[in-house]
């Protein structure tokens, strides 16, 4: 029981309660359904992608291009719609472009063996570039009413489509991570790709599938943001990867791979959403909020590091003490 209490997830829960309490003191309407739904809606696309990013970081990889794929799929959707193509075709194409982008990333990472940092950094630049080739400087929107309603209004009661997708996503990712063989292989590869390879895991195929999943999920998020905002620019979703990566790392998933739980990621997601909402309540601009998120990102690795070194020192002293006692006694 004490183990559970001292875990990272418990710390996150504590922080979440503190943040919510602070926010409630700032605004009496904070816990109202409207505000809570709004709180999610503003970042719904990010938290969906964070679910996919969790899988990738557990696998000891990283995908910096997610925001650019979001932008690319949103831009492609707007472009095709603007060109007069049937909307369902545009939707399929947008999802497909995400799969293609993910497969492209996956090819260089899994089969050529390039580091995911550089490949997805190139992707971040490149896919954003393709998106801006499509839309240039314009802002294109004018989507069908049902599409925008899906993104902006509630589907089941007050709960919007995006939020429902998130809940479904949480369940799926939980099942994959905790109850499927695929999830186990993700952890093993994250701990040591070589061990996984020698144990018979097809590491290449797993990594390729992961990046394709990331691409498709990012494309889906791009479609959602197009629906929510009603209009798309070449710069849609720029910089989202910061929030997404912070959500995953703050949730206790190690950047080095091999460990982390979905519970932690969900908690950290809630923390970040509440922090952003709370900062908005006191009129702190989006830019400054980003700075706070950046600080959280660094702290999310700095503090566990520090705690670990304190713990090793404590246990070393403890061991030394015990040894001294044993000798003296």
């Amino acid at each position: 029981m004490t183990r559970k209490l001292l875990s990272w997830e418990a710390l996150l829960l504590f922080i979440l309660i503190v943040v919510v309490l602070i926010n409630v003191s700032l605004s009496p309407f904070y816990l109202g359904l409207n505000n809570q739904i709004n709180l999610f809606q503003l970042s719904i696309e990010k938290i969906i992608v964070a679910l996919a990013m969790t899988l990738i970081i557990i696998n000891a990889e990283i995908d910096l291009s997610v925001a650019s794929v979001m932008g690319l799929s949103a831009c492609l959707l707007a472009y095709l719609h603007d060109q007069g193509q049937p909307f369902w075709l545009a939707l399929v194409a947008s999802l497909l472009v995400g799969a293609v982008a993910g497969a492209f990333n996956g090819f260089w990472i899994a089969y050529v063996g390039l580091p995911s940092l550089v490949v997805t950094l190139a992707g971040l630049i490149g896919y954003r570039g393709v998106a801006s080739i499509l839309l240039e400087d314009e802002s294109i929107g004018n989507f069908p009413d049902w599409f925008e309603a899906l993104g902006q209004r509630g589907l089941v009661g007050p709960v919007p489509f995006g939020l429902l997708l998130f809940f479904v996503g949480v369940v799926i990712v939980w099942v994959v991570l905790q109850r499927s063989a695929y999830g186990r292989t993700l952890y093993v590869i994250g701990n040591s790709a070589n061990v996984a390879r020698y144990s018979g895991v097809n590491v290449r195929r797993v990594k390729m599938s992961l990046f394709i999943i990331s691409g498709v999920v990012s494309a889906l998020a791009g479609i959602l943001i197009a629906a929510r905002l009603g209009a798309v620019r070449g710069s849609t979703a720029v910089g989202f990867e910061l929030d997404i990566i912070t959500m995953v790392l703050l949730g206790g998933v190690s950047i080095f791979g091999g460990s982390g739980t979905l519970t932690g990621v969900v908690l950290s997601t809630l923390i970040i959403l509440n922090i952003r909402n709370g900062l908005s309540l006191v009129n702190i601009s989006g830019n400054t909020q980003t700075g706070v998120i950046g600080l959280l990102l660094i702290l999310s690795v700095l503090i566990p590091n520090w705690l670990q070194s304190v713990q090793t020192r404590w246990s070393r002293d403890h061991q030394a003490q015990a040894q001294a006692q044993a000798k003296g006694g």
């Binding site: 990283i62 570039g129 909020q289 998120i293």
Partner: protein
Amino acid sequence: MNTVRRAIRPEQIRELILVLIIFGAILFFGSQIENYYQPRTFTRIASSLAILAVVAVGQTMVVLMRNIDLSVGSIVGFTAYFVGRAVVANNEMSPAVVVLLAIVMGAGLGLVNGLVIAYGRVPAIITTLGTLAIYRSILVQFSDAQTIITSALPEWLVNLPQVDAFVVGEVEVKLIVLVAIVIVLIFQLVVAYLPWGRRLYAIGSNPDAAAMTGLPVRRMTISAYTLCGALSGLAGFLFLARFGTITVVAAQGLELQVVAAVVVGGVNTFGGSGTMLGALLGAVLIATLEQSLLRWRVVSEFWRDALLGLLILLAVATDSVVLARLRLLWARGEIEQL
């Protein structure tokens, strides 16, 4: 064949190919764009090259150690803006003080990066992703969204990009370009001949072994990042001089171009190999592409980023596949000799 093998290393072949690619690009654009071969074109390329090259030198030092610095764009914007504000408030500041202010400011920001990475043991990608956001938001917060306008700046600063170092026939070599090239040369010598520079390569090629042999890895990380920050600060000063009007989004995205220049220039992201000259060549190619695309009617300027991403990929893939094979060939040659 053996004398060739002994005289040239595979990395130098790569740099040679890069030079050929640059010439190829210039020839290509020259055939597509009218009036391309004017001194004006090269002056334009050189101006954006100066800023890119200075930051690339700092980034190279960091990448050689198997790290990365994504916050350079924010540092350049930060220093350009705040130095600009200082100069606007006090037009009488001497140029030396202004430059020094920019460098010290940048060095401070870089020092923070170095401390968090070295002592906090936070991976470089995470730290610099975070400081990218933090520095930019500090800039936005403390600027009150005011822009710096050229007319408020002193004459010498605004005219700096036009100042010629010397003129060779019709080609004017600008002072800022000369400064950038001198910096590249100085740091190339540092990295090739000074012990501090050689240690960068050692730490990058095998950090654990370097630590075990007693190299001061943490101190070197801090000094590399501080230098990178200082050079970014200098680039911020150049940025201020070049553009005059500085908004809060100044130099946003510069880090991507710098990483592209460094990677294309042959500096390996796994650390341990690459040269400043290579980074300079990479910066030349990137600057050439950027300026030429602006003037090429066939294809909009928006193709630049897509091309940049593709270039990085090709460069890293080539390094990983082709260079590895070449090195094997070279190594086999040496073994056969024994």
